[in-house]
């Protein structure tokens, strides 16, 4: 409710509606951007380390500044950031200049808009929509436009192939993800993320917290379908055929460098945060404590929410460095012939469950 609260608060100070609106948007936008940047920095470091440990390597290491990358390689992140900021920004001669430059912004806007509805805690949420779940899914599709734009404008066959694969993949996997997120929406009877989390209070089966994932067998399956589809929507391995390095160089990002590429990177990690946030709010109790009643109030909400998101992002990295990439036909087979039928049976099953058990 931050934006509305800020606008109301400014209204009590004086009558300057346009300025108040702009101030409120800026004040709530800057922390979101900081969250995005911080998330990307931490996630890049963790990704390096996690991938290294998965492959029995050491990852970024060092004995101190000047020697390697600082203690535990912590300075590697700083070096990465500086490199991305100062690297030359190349624009190919034969590219479509306007669309080439516009594409990173479209992708960034898609990620940024999604982050605005993520319920970080009971009170920490930029906009508390009554159609929040649907909204996050909707703005996710703006990013696809940006990807296709980047791929086409680059005027490069690898970029174009990457963009088309990406569009096909994201559109396909939006369906099982959307059908699975309907399950918590049906159970709680609301599209509002905060009300969805409020529904998940108390306990179920005696000891487990009343998270939707534990509520019945259908929602348990729905969570996994949603999470796998979410990984596919963020274009990460094993679903990274849009940027398959061994076939397409870097897919739709081939021609990008410097800060424009950094924006893609920022948006990819922000998208991981958003889809994990939606999974946590929809299935894993949001900002509720895993032990009902224990540390279940105030700032602890932020801790639990970020903790759950971090665990899900860790699982994404784990999957990324464990499984090989799927082929295009396998990808479509899994989506259309496995996930969508199961997701539909889930919806039917949850409807029956809700009729019988209330």
């Amino acid at each position: 409710m931050t934006v509305d609260m800020l606008i109301d608060w400014f209204a009590t100070l004086g009558d300057f509606p346009v300025l108040a609106f702009i101030l409120a948007v800026v004040i709530s936008g800057i922390p979101l951007f900081l969250v995005m940047a911080l998330n990307a920095m931490v996630a890049v470091y963790v990704e390096r380390k996690v991938s290294a440990f998965m492959m029995d390597r050491l990852g970024p290491m060092g004995q101190g500044p000047g020697l390697h990358a600082g203690k535990w390689g912590l300075l590697q992140t700083v070096a990465d950031a500086i490199k991305l900021l100062v690297k030359e920004d190349t624009v190919p001669e034969s590219s479509d200049k306007i669309l080439f430059k516009m594409a990173p912004f479209i992708i960034f806007i898609g990620a940024f808009l999604g982050l605005a509805a993520v319920p970080f805690s009971q009170t920490l949420q930029v906009v508390d929509f009554n159609v929040g779940v649907f909204y996050i899914i909707a703005v996710g599709s703006i990013g696809v436009i940006g990807i296709v734009m980047a791929g086409w404008a680059s005027n490069n066959k690898w970029s174009l192939y990457g963009a088309m694969r990406s569009a096909a993949q994201i559109i396909s996997y939006e369906i099982p993800a959307g059908l699975s997120i309907i399950v918590p929406v049906m159970m709680a009877g609301t599209l509002n993320l905060q009300e969805l989390i409020h529904y998940q209070s108390g306990t179920v089966w005696g000891i487990l917290p009343n998270w939707i994932i534990f509520n019945n067998p259908f929602s348990f399956i729905a969570f996994f379908i949603f999470f796998i589809s979410a990984i596919a929507e963020t274009n990460r391995t094993p679903f990274d055929i849009p940027e398959a390095e061994s076939e397409l160089v870097a897919g739709w990002m081939t021609e990008y460098s410097g800060f424009r590429w950094a924006i893609f990177f920022l948006s990819e990690y922000a998208n991981m945060l958003i889809v994990s946030g939606l999974a946590v709010a929809g299935f894993l109790g949001g900002w509720r404590s895993p032990i009902p009643g224990l540390f279940d109030s105030g700032a602890w909400g932020l801790f639990w929410f970020m903790g759950k998101i971090a665990s899900l992002i860790f699982v994404m990295m784990w999957v990324r460095w464990t499984f090989p990439r799927l082929r295009v036909d396998q990808l479509m087979h899994v989506c259309w012939k496995v996930f969508i039928p199961i997701a539909m049976i889930n919806i039917f099953g949850v409807g029956i469950w809700k009729l019988i058990f209330g």
Binding site: Y135, I145, N156
Partner: protein, 162 residues
């Protein structure tokens, strides 16, 4: 404040809609359509139609626009960046446009518009769901059957003979 934002939204919608028809490059037209669709979303927000606004983004931006762009990219060789479309049959077009403008203008003037109080109505999602599943169940089912038929038809047409 609301008026100020409203005119910005109207400007985006109409400006990019003009870009769609005026641009000689088909790809630019398709991308200008993105901003037009988002502008229309803003208009729905001004009407307090939260659910319809999000549906607008999902269906038009996430579905139809991507399909249009996909089609352009599939049919065009990557080397030829310039895809242009020219105006044809300008006289007949002018008659059609004038007729349409007259009809719409007559509709706007003759309709007895109801002015509602500027207060946030109750949630629309529950009401929409109830109406779709009870009062308008038959049209809803007929529409979904039509879509299913279109889906199967498209698959059959595009499938190679085994």
């Amino acid at each position: 404040m609301a008026e100020f934002t409203f005119w910005i939204v109207v400007g985006i919608t109409l400006g990019s809609a003009f870009m769609v028809v005026q641009s000689k490059n088909l790809v630019y037209s398709a991308y200008a359509l993105l901003f037009s669709f988002i502008g229309v979303t803003g208009l729905y927000v001004f009407l307090w139609a939260d659910f319809i606004a999000v549906v607008q983004v999902v269906v038009y931006v996430g579905g139809i626009l991507i399909l249009i762009i996909f089609g352009i990219m599939l049919t065009n060789k990557i080397t030829s960046v310039n895809i242009s479309h020219a105006s044809v049959q300008k006289k007949v077009g002018a008659v059609a446009v004038l007729g349409m403008a007259f009809l719409l203008g007559y509709m706007v003037i003759s309709t007895p518009w109801v002015t509602l109080a500027n207060v946030e109505p109750a949630e629309t999602t529950a009401a929409i769901g109830r109406l779709l599943m009870m009062d308008y169940l038959l049209p809803f089912e007929v529409a979904s059957l039509l879509l299913l038929g279109a889906l199967i038809g498209a698959t059959t047409l595009s499938r190679k003979e085994d």
